[in-house]
Every structure is written in C-alpha cells, then in structure tokens.
C-alpha cells in the first residue's frame, strides 16, 4: 500500500503545483489588468471628452460621444496658438534632452574612468544635487537667472533644465557605465583609440539603455514641466505648452472638451517617445544591480 501511495503522490504533487501556479498567474494578470484600467480609464475619459461638445459633456460625462467631434482638434490646431506653443515645447525639450544626455554621459565617462577619490568626489558632487528639492532653489535660482539676463528666454529654460537634470542623469549613467567591462576600454586603448574615441565609439554605444532611460525621464519631465516656465517666462513668444494650457482655462473658461484636446495633443510626444525607447528602459534602470 505504502509503495502504491508513494508512486501516486508524485503526479498528485505535480498537479497541485500546477494549480497553484495557474492561480498565481491569474492573480498576477488580474492585478496588471486592474492597474492598466487605472491608467487607461482616465486617459480614455480624457480622449472621449475631447471629442464631445460642452453640452454633451454635462449631459453624459462618462458615456461615449454621440458624434465624434474631431473638429475640436482642428479648431485648436488651426485657430489657436497651440502649434506655436507646441513648437516652443519641442525646441526646449529636444535641445535640453540632447544636451543632458551629452553632458551627463561625458561626466559619467569621466567618473568611471578616474581613479579613487577623484571619482568618488565628482560622483558625490553630482549626486548630492538629487537630495535638494527643486522648490528650495526657486528664489536664489530666480535671482541668478535674472542677473544673468536669462529670464524669459528659451536658452534660459534649456540651461536650467540641463543643470537640474544632471544629478539623476549622471546617477543612472554612472551605474550603467560601471557595468561595462574594463577590458573593453583597455582593448580599445590598445587598438589605438584616444579618450574621445573610447567614449564615442565604445562606451556610448554600449550605454544606449541608460541613454534611453535618461531620455524618457527627462523628456517627460521637461515636456510636462510647469514650474520653471511659470517662474521665468513672461511673454507669449517663449511660452511652452503646459504654461499655455494654464491660460487655456481662462480662454476657454468652461470649454472642457477644448482643454482636454490640448491634454491629448500634449501627451502624444511622450507616448511616442516611451513606445520607441521602452525596449531599453528597464535595462537602463536595473543596470549594475546584479553581476552580469
């Protein structure tokens, strides 16, 4: 009997393990589905609202629009100054993000290549910036920017974004670059590469996951940022999208569909960037956490 029992117990244990795994899987899927609904629900509500009239919104705030009013989009793009603010946001974001990547990768390369205390000191000085909340700096920063004559200018905004993004960007990139085997750097030295060539042809191409991570983070931050434009931008010609959207509330006081059109349009570049770079995003964030 006991032999029979032992023989049967193996498949039984296997099937109960399978059931447990299935339950685990279903639970996981449920949680993920719930999370997706939490993110997609409000976004879909925004999209739907942007395709309604104001009257329809008040009558049926949560339902589908009876007619899809795409003319809302046309109205904003054709009549308002939206394309102009879009252009401003684009210039500020693209230039800032490009330069953040450039400077942070150079700094990270230097930190990973220097020896001992010099590297630690540089790394410390860069990352200490992450500990200071942006709001604490607002007044001294405002005085500095005004003194330098950089207020109310696109260039001023770009410089501020670069300065504020450097700590986190350097933190991410140093973590990644430290994972690049030293022998690769040595091999390229022996192959005849100078420091610039080692950086540009070996280290930077191998750091693409961290570049993607820094790009996504900063694209989202710079594109959405309201604080710095609110502090430093006065005239319409320098306004970025978030600041302009703030004014939308006044212009289209109760026209929520139009405000939501702006929100949808402003989200598109972020979604596109994330979709394009997400492949490397997780890799960049987790680099260096485990030995490869």
């Amino acid at each position: 009997m006991s032999v029979k029992h032992e023989v049967n117990s193996a498949p039984e244990a296997e099937s109960s393990a399978k059931v447990a795994n299935n339950v685990k899987d279903i639970m996981k899927q449920l949680i993920l589905a719930l999370y997706a609904a939490l993110i997609l629900g409000p976004f879909m509500l925004v999209v739907m609202t942007s395709l309604k009239t104001t009257q329809e919104l008040y009558q049926n705030p949560l339902g589908l629009p009876s007619t899809f009013h795409f003319e809302n989009y046309a109205k904003i793009l054709m009549e308002g100054k939206m394309p102009f603010y879009f252009k401003n946001s684009f210039i500020v974001t693209i230039i800032s993000v490009t330069l953040i990547i450039f400077f942070a990768s150079l700094a990270s390369y230097a930190i990973t290549r220097l020896d001992g205390w010099k590297s630690k000191l540089m790394y410390g000085l860069f990352t200490i910036g992450m500990m200071i909340p942006t709001q604490v700096n607002m007044i001294p920063l405002y005085l500095l920017v005004v003194k330098l004559g950089l207020n109310n200018s696109i260039l001023g905004l770009i410089i501020i974004y670069i300065a504020f993004a450097m700590p986190f960007a350097t933190f991410i990139m140093v973590g990644f670059m430290r994972g690049i085997p030293k022998s690769l750097i040595e091999a390229s030295k022996i192959d005849g590469a100078n420091e610039w060539q080692i950086y540009s042809r070996v280290v930077l191409p191998l750091s693409l996951p961290s570049v993607a991570t820094v790009a996504i983070f900063n694209f989202v931050w710079v594109w959405n940022d309201l604080l710095f434009p609110l502090l430093f931008v006065r005239t319409d010609s320098v306004k970025t999208l978030p600041l302009a959207m703030l004014r939308f509330q006044g212009e289209y006081m109760f026209d929520f569909p139009m405000i939501f059109v702006g929100v949808v349009l402003a989200s598109i570049p972020m979604i596109v960037t994330y979709v394009l770079l997400q492949r490397w995003f997780i890799q960049g964030l987790t680099a260096g956490s485990v030995k490869g």
Binding site: P181, S183, L184, E186, A187, S188, K189, I190, D191, G192, A193, N194, Q197, R201, V202, P205, L206
Partner: protein, 368 residues
C-alpha cells in the same frame, strides 16, 4: 617583429609590492610564457609591457625603443584578453577592423587583412555575426583575429584559454602553437596552467610573489628546477619532497630517511656541506617493486591512501612510514594499487634532486 626587454621593473600598488626588480629579455620571435600562481605578478608584468600599467621603477623596451612612457596605442602591440573583450555592438568584421580603422588604414587594405586573418582562423563565415551569436571558441578566435590583423611587433596574451572547456582548450592550444610557427612573431603569454606553459613556451618564466624564480626552456626547468617552488609548480602531479639527512661514507654520499639509504651519484667533495636536506623526486621516477629484488634500504614501504585511474596511468597517493606524502605515477597496465594496501616504492637513481629545507634552493640536480 621585435624582442622585448624589461629592466629593473618594480610595481607597487599602495603598500603592496607586486613586482620586484624584474629583468627579462624576450628574444625576437620567441613564445615566452609567464606562469605562476594567482597574485604572483605575471599579469601585471604583461600589463606593464602593454602600457596598461605604469611601472613604479624600471624601463620597458620593444626592439630598441624605450616605450616606458608611451601610450598602449603607440607601442605597436596587440593583446588578447582573458574575457576576449570583444566589442558587443560590433560585428566580427568590425571588431577585427576597429584597430585598423582608428589607424586610418585604407578600406581596401582593411578588407584584405581582415579576410586574410579570418581565413587563417576559420572565421570567414562568421564575419557578419555579433559576438553574442558566437560560441566561446569562436569568440576566442575573433579575439586572436583582432590581434593578428594589426601585424603588431608583439602579441600579448592574458590567459586566453582559461574560459574554454578542457577539450577546446587542448585544441586551441595546438592552434596557437601553429599560429605562432606561421607568424614567427614575439608572443608573451600569461597562464597559471603549467601544462599550457610546458606545451607552448619556447621559454618559461616561473614567478612567485612578484619575483622571477627561473627562466628557461620547459625541458630544462622540468629537469633542473631552481628551487622547491619551481619543482612543485611545474609537473603534474607535482614533485614529491621527502625530508632526510645527508651522510658521507667511503667517499659515497648517502641520503637517509625512514630507514632508506639512497646513494647519490656525486662525490663527497661535491656534496652539499649541510646535513638536513629535502629529497625531490617526480612521481614518474618512483618505481613500485617486488621486495625480493632489492635490499631493504633501497625502498620505502608505503600505505596507499587514494588511487586515481586516469586511463593511460594511475596516480597513487601514499604515505611513507613517518607520514610524509609520496605520490607515484604507475602504468595502468600493471596491477592497480587499492586504498589500504601496502606497496614498496623505490626512487630511481639518477632522477633525484636535493633542496635546502630553509631557502628551498636546489643543492644538486642530478639528472643529466
């Protein structure tokens, strides 16, 4: 091609002295192997030749040029790394061509040189692949190819076979020897594997604690180890050491230990003056005997502890009557000794080494 000369190289990391006053003269076209245990300074020596480390003292010459202060790229050397150090984002062709591109060699010549090296190493079909799509052996050959295309004065190899499995290691070892015969270039090769050192090196440098112990051909080092460290490091299984004393009687020199008395083929005039010595004998120079053949003072009665059958031979680990270890290599065709058994072992005359128990230096190497 050029030779390499190290003059009084010392390297200190913090408070640790890694290399002490090292002099080496590597001839043009020579395959020199640096061998020793971990931390002996062999890789540091190689990296100093490469220019990846700066010596604390001393000079490095490649040919007649003093390259001590030159960058690695200006030394005209190529290096094969232990982990191959292939650029993961470049295809095999680009990995091999990278050094040539940086030196602004024409596209036509790059293609010619890469194709030539690829053919020599059997990489022609792999030029379009990325390193991650290659096996360990193929990656190793790409790393070699990257060095070969450069036509450098000196090849530096830092344990290039250590990441390969045993079978592939033996195969690649032979390929490397053939490659060296073909290119006739100067090679400095670092390994901790004494078999690699013995089979590949024109000469071997045995190192320990940052000091060169002996530099010579594999055969000379095997037959005439300079000290107990070299004798124990080169050869597998390592040389046996038996503590004992020297006595002279009637002009003969005798080694005495545990009831045995071995006559050494040397005169009392030539014999070391000290009394306490260590006898060195390689496992293959110990014979398992039938007691009747020899008088009792010619053999040791030992207890078999472990017997390892390795196909062509057996390696028998024994203990002498006073508890010293004695390893013997015996022909596998004969009777295999079983653990617990007692066997009689006779060190063969003419293969004996005598060492100073304090300094470890060889007092007399008697194999001619």
């Amino acid at each position: 091609m050029s030779g390499v000369r190290l003059e009084g190289i010392t390297k200190v990391f913090g408070s640790t002295v890694v290399l002490t006053k090292t002099d080496l003269d590597i001839k043009d076209g020579e395959f020199l192997v640096l061998v020793g245990p971990s931390g002996c300074g062999k890789s540091t020596t190689l990296r100093i030749v490469a220019g990846l480390e700066t010596p604390t003292e001393g000079s490095v010459f490649i040919g007649n040029r003093n390259v001590t202060k030159l960058e690695p790229s200006d030394r005209d050397i190529a290096m094969v790394f232990q982990d191959y150090a292939l650029y993961p984002h470049m295809k095999v062709f680009d990995n091999m061509a990278f050094g040539l591109k940086l030196r602004k060699v024409s596209k036509k010549e790059i293609t010619e040189r890469v194709n030539e090296a690829a053919e020599m190493l059997g990489l022609t079909n792999l030029l379009d692949r990325y390193p991650k799509q290659l096996s360990g052996g193929q990656r190793q050959r790409v790393a070699l190819g990257r060095a070969v295309v450069r036509h450098p004065q000196v090849f530096l190899m830092d344990e290039p076979l250590s990441n390969l499995d045993a079978k592939l290691r033996v195969q690649t070892r032979a390929e490397l020897i053939k490659l060296h015969q073909k290119l006739k270039s100067t090679v400095i090769y670092v390994t901790h594997d004494q078999t690699e050192a013995m089979t590949m090196g024109t000469r071997i440098v045995v190192m320990k604690d940052g000091l060169v112990q002996q530099v010579d051909t594999p055969k000379f080092i095997y037959d005439h180890p300079a000290n107990m460290f070299v004798a124990g490091f080169i050869g597998s299984p390592p040389m046996n050491f038996i503590k004992g004393s020297l006595e002279t009687a009637n002009g003969k020199v005798l080694f005495k230990s545990q009831g045995i008395s071995l006559e050494l083929p040397t005169t009392s005039a030539e014999a070391p003056k000290q009394q306490d010595v260590v006898l060195g004998i390689r496992p293959e120079n110990v014979e398992v005997i039938d007691q009747n053949k020899f008088e009792e003072s010619k053999f040791l009665t030992c207890h078999v502890e472990v017997s390892e059958y390795v196909g062509s031979e057996s390696i028998v680990h024994t203990k002498t009557p006073d508890g010293q270890k004695l390893v013997v290599k015996v022909n596998a065709n004969g009777k295999i000794a079983e653990p617990g058994e007692t066997i009689k072992l006779r060190p063969l005359d003419g293969f004996l080494h005598l060492f100073d128990p304090q300094s470890g230096s060889n007092l007399l190497s008697m194999k001619v």
